[in-house]
Symmetry: C2
Amino acid sequence: MLTIDAAALLREASLRVTSSRVAVLRMVADNPHADTDTIAKAVRRELGSVSTQAIYDVLRALTDAGLARRIEPAGSPARFETRVGDNHHHLVCRSCGAIADVGRAVGEAPCLDAGDPHGFVLDEAEVTYWGTCPDCLARDE
Amino acid sequence: MLTIDAAALLREASLRVTSSRVAVLRMVADNPHADTDTIAKAVRRELGSVSTQAIYDVLRALTDAGLARRIEPAGSPARFETRVGDNHHHLVCRSCGAIADVGRAVGEAPCLDAGDPHGFVLDEAEVTYWGTCPDCLARDE
DNA sequence: ATCGTTTATTTGACTTGTTCCAGAAAAGGC
DNA sequence: GCCTTTTCTGGAACAAGTCAAATAAACGAT
């Protein structure tokens, strides 16, 4: 397990330090792109019993505090990662749903200049690359 | 109502021509980005009673046949549009969920060259621009 | 250290979006 | 027109996520 200091991160974000939050935060840090259910199972394995509602609440709190990011590719339940602030993007496998990160080349402007933004004020350009992951390619031989 | 020849489009795609399909296809053509429920209500207004299942089946058939595209921004139910094949992208309002199209400048390559694709074979780059729509901007004054 | 206020968590019912099932009905090729 | 294939109906099931009220825990002040 990566030894991130979850408690310190929580305190910095002025969130109370509870065992659920520490466990969830560590879990998300160690398993990027895990979905809620996977996170819940892992946390329960560590702490015993934790309510589903608590998992949702904690994930929401972490997301609101900027400690986690929620991503939600079409057709997939919500997934979470702690890599925030660097505006990287995601590769999603159409056949198994696997997700990988892809960092944007440094200094390269995102395609944030949408042609005609129709009066919208934009704050983020999210890119999802769809394709097939190496495992599925190999299996479908 | 736009007078697209729904029946002809269906036949070209070798789909049987049924009243539900014609109605749904026309509805989607006239109301881009409508969600399933909105489509169902509109179709029922026109045809009387149509089962929810039929709506889902028809939308799936249209999508599979390439007559419609399904989009699904995070936090929103599935939405459909008939503008297919030109790989345009979407502006999504964070506060009301409104969606607008934004065409990519012609000739401009998409950001399909993901830095390191980790062995994925990509077939599409989907860009979602997040922001606030003009209406919500005005209301939040 | 302990108390009390504030904030988390539990519990359980509920909503929403979507899919599955099995039988009845309709479309199109012959 | 008949027959096969496909679609539609209605109802039930399902998964993800939310709401609300009661209980429990964190942590700053005593």
